[in-house]
């Protein structure tokens, strides 16, 4: 007992000494960097450790296996506790209880600020290599870092948006994929009048899906001006324009309004009820899974635009984040980093059964990734197509630290106004007012410029 204690004290002293020399020689910026010296990292990665990893990604075990093969001392327990909201509820409960959290968890980009402000995420910057952020496009890494150089999550995949459409139905109606949203509205009328059971698209019923379209139109609703003050501008012209567009389409009767992610919704793709979808890159896998009977007739096209410049939005995409309660932060950081940035692992993420759209520059530019041409999409190189849409995703997008509430209020206020065929601009204004009231009640200083 005592000898073990003594030994660990000695190790601690030695590693501290090593660390301090490292600091002196490399001139590290902060005391925090002392923990992240290569000696401490090497030691942590060679100490028998068990990590818990929550993820709902299909096939995530493949990347975990690669990690375990590289670091045989570390065992990873991969658990799927539910996807999205189901997992977040467990994490929020765990943060409140200060226990029961995994070491690493899958978190979508839009919720990284939420979990950061709740104190749930560890800053792993000290354990990452020096130019770590430069391996991602800047607008991606901006979503997981803060002004002080902290890194709170490792980007995993992204969701640049394009338009998936049924080329056979479009050809039959003598139309090409719409270049602008005005064309999209015209095509909506053509498709529905040709076949009463067919619509160009479903109503955008999902808050994240609609947010991607607001993003494309230029909405930048949130900006943290300090840790406790936020600028909220949800009711700008772009947001009102997009909302009115979809509200008018729905009122015209040329699109239906079915809830997403249900068996009905999946069947609607398969039975030709919807013949296009403004979908994120991961939607390629969603549609091919839902609409097996229509294999070979789907294609990808750029998202229709509001002006003449090609621009896209983003919907979803995940990260792997280290929880602040982790007792093995170094090993956890290594796991989060490895499964997403190791060359073999990050390429594996883009293949079956995961089909992630990658975020690392190296994978984005790799020939193997771009050459993928699924038969479901008629042999079109859909990932190459989506890479082009990815290049024109609007930059500088910031999330709120209470994105869940923002989306709940969107459903209450904006979607409700659309489905009731009432004034959508009033719905958007109510969304803004309710969000501001919420932020103020949470203690934020709010500006609305």
């Amino acid at each position: 007992m005592t000898s073990i204690k003594k030994r660990s004290v000695v190790v601690a002293v030695v590693s501290t000494l090593v660390a301090s020399t490292a600091i002196l020689s490399v001139s590290a910026q902060s005391a925090q960097a002392a923990v992240g010296t290569s000696a401490a990292i090497t030691k942590a990665l060679n100490t028998p450790t068990t990590l818990t990893f929550w993820s709902w990604l299909p096939g995530q075990q493949n990347e975990v296996n690669l990690f375990q093969a590289t670091y045989p001392k570390i065992k990873v327990k991969l658990v799927n506790v539910g996807s999205g909201g189901a997992e977040y509820n467990k994490i929020k409960a765990g943060i409140a209880a200060k226990s029961g959290l995994p070491d690493v968890a899958q978190i979508e980009f839009q919720y990284v600020p939420t979990f950061k402000v709740l104190g749930g995420l560890a800053n792993i910057a000290p354990y990452l290599s020096k130019n770590w952020v430069s391996q991602f496009p800047a607008w991606i890494s901006a979503q997981v870092t803060d002004a002080k150089g902290g890194v709170y999550a490792v980007p995993q995949d992204s969701g640049p948006m394009g338009l998936l459409y049924r080329s056979d139905v479009f050809t039959k109606n003598n139309i090409t994929p719409p270049a602008t949203w005005a064309d999209f509205a015209k095509d909506a009328a053509i498709i529905h009048s040709a076949d009463a059971n067919s619509y160009i698209s479903n109503m955008i019923m999902d808050s994240g899906n609609m947010n991607g379209l607001y993003w494309q139109a230029g909405a930048r609703p949130f900006h943290m001006t300090s840790a406790s003050s936020i600028n909220i501008k949800l009711n700008d012209a772009a947001t009102k324009q997009v909302t009115k567009f979809w509200g008018d389409l729905y009122s015209s009767g040329n699109i239906p309004a079915d809830p997403y992610w249900t068996s009905d919704w999946n069947a609607a793709f398969n039975k030709g009820k919807y013949v296009s979808w403004a979908a994120a890159a991961w939607g390629l896998a969603t549609v091919s899974a839902a609409a097996a009977d229509t294999s070979g007739s789907w294609r990808a096209a750029p998202l229709p635009t509001w002006g003449s410049t090609p621009v896209s939005g983003n919907w979803g995409g995940s990260t792997s984040a280290v929880m602040s309660t982790s007792k093995n932060v170094i090993a956890a950081a290594a796991l989060a980093d490895f499964v997403n940035t190791n060359a073999t692992a990050s390429f594996a993420l883009t293949q079956a059964p995961t089909f992630d759209f990658p975020v690392a520059n190296s994978v984005l530019s790799s020939a193997g990734f771009k050459a993928t041409a699924p038969a479901f999409y008629g042999g079109q190189k859909v990932y190459q197509a989506y890479s082009a849409y990815n290049a024109v995703v609007g930059k500088n997008y910031e999330w709120s630290p209470f994105q869940d509430e923002v989306y709940t209020l969107w459903t209450n206020d904006v979607l409700d106004s659309i489905l009731k065929k009432s004034d959508t601009a009033a719905g958007v204004d109510k969304w803004q007012a309710d969000t501001v009231a919420y932020a103020k009640a949470q203690g934020y200083t709010v500006t609305t410029k």
Binding site: K92, P259, W261, T262, K271, N412, Q442
Partner: protein, 306 residues
């Protein structure tokens, strides 16, 4: 004399040990009761008096959360809605349950055991699974009911189109789930009734239906009342079904469909644990008040209730 005293002492000590033994048997329940019910209840009452935002610390606000709640239109809507739901669903369910219990008890059914089990089985299905099963029935485009109606060339039904249709859809599901449970309670009560009266009625020429209405039903009143109290508690706590159906109709089954759904969303989506505790604590209070009123009204019938 001395023997008498000894006997008294003995019986006293044995009484004390009986008490202790009794306590011992009650202990497991009592511990769970305290840990899982009393402590959380007190704790939620306690945190409902505080406010903790994402920014700024935890501060005592007295009854401020309750004042906010009473002026919160979403909360008022949710309470009114479960009250409507109670009025819509509970009478229907209890009438069906009573009818089934009387039918099985009448001895006129061909396969009484089969019916008893068949009606009771839905209660054994977890509420979430029940809601998922029924969402296949209710699906607008390709749901079972609308598919059948489509074959018959009848107009599709939107089961979640309006306030009333959504409440009716949930009522049908909950009736399916709980009618069997209530039927078992009522059936057990019927089995406990003395058969002398039936014989007397039979001698007087009463048939099965007349016996059921004139003899059994009046005696069943306390048991029906018990199921009513259970149903008050159950319907005001409506949660799983609307939460599950919100995937099918997000604007109909919104984040404040029932007080429990609202508390859940306020806690997990809105990060306002204090306000969620306020909603939950007041829901308990509302249920207690409604149940008390029901008991007072029911008692005037001159029966010994609960």
């Amino acid at each position: 004399m001395s023997i008498n005293i000894e006997m008294v002492i003995m019986s006293r000590s044995s009484l004390a040990s009986t008490k202790r033994t009794g306590l011992f048997f009650v202990l497991p329940f009592f511990l769970l009761f305290v840990v899982l019910l009393i402590v959380p209840l007190l704790y939620s009452g306690y945190i409902s008096l505080y406010h903790k935002g994402l920014i700024g610390g935890n501060k005592f606000v007295g009854l401020q959360n309750y004042v906010t709640m009473i002026h919160d239109p979403q909360w008022v809507t949710s309470v009114v809605r479960v009250a409507l739901y109670f009025l819509l669903q509970v009478p229907l369910m209890l009438i069906i349950a009573t009818f089934c219990a009387l039918a099985i008890d009448s001895g006129k059914l061909r396969f009484p055991r089969f019916f008893r089990i068949a009606i009771f089985i839905p209660y054994a299905v977890p509420a979430v699974i029940g809601a998922i099963i029924w969402s296949y029935f209710y699906g607008f485009n390709y749901g079972f009911i609308n598919t059948v109606l489509g074959y018959a060339h009848i107009h599709k039904i939107n089961f979640f189109g309006s306030q009333f249709s959504s409440l009716s859809s949930i009522s049908a599901l909950v009736t399916w789930e709980f009618a069997g449970y209530n039927m078992i309670i009522l059936y057990a009560a019927l089995k406990g009734l003395s058969t002398e009266l039936y014989e007397a009625a039979a001698v007087d020429g009463a048939g099965a239906i007349k016996t059921a209405i004139r003899i059994k039903l009046p005696q069943l009143y306390p048991a029906i009342f018990l199921t009513l109290i259970f149903s008050i508690i159950g319907s005001f706590q409506l949660f799983t079904e609307p939460l599950q159906f919100s995937n099918l109709a997000p604007t109909t089954f919104d984040d404040h469909y029932s007080p429990n759904v609202y508390a859940y969303n306020v806690a997990f989506k809105g990060q306002q644990l204090n306000y969620a505790a306020t909603i939950s604590f007041s829901l308990g209070l509302i249920i207690a008040i409604v149940a008390t009123i029901a008991t007072l009204v029911g008692r005037r019938k001159g029966e010994q209730l609960i």
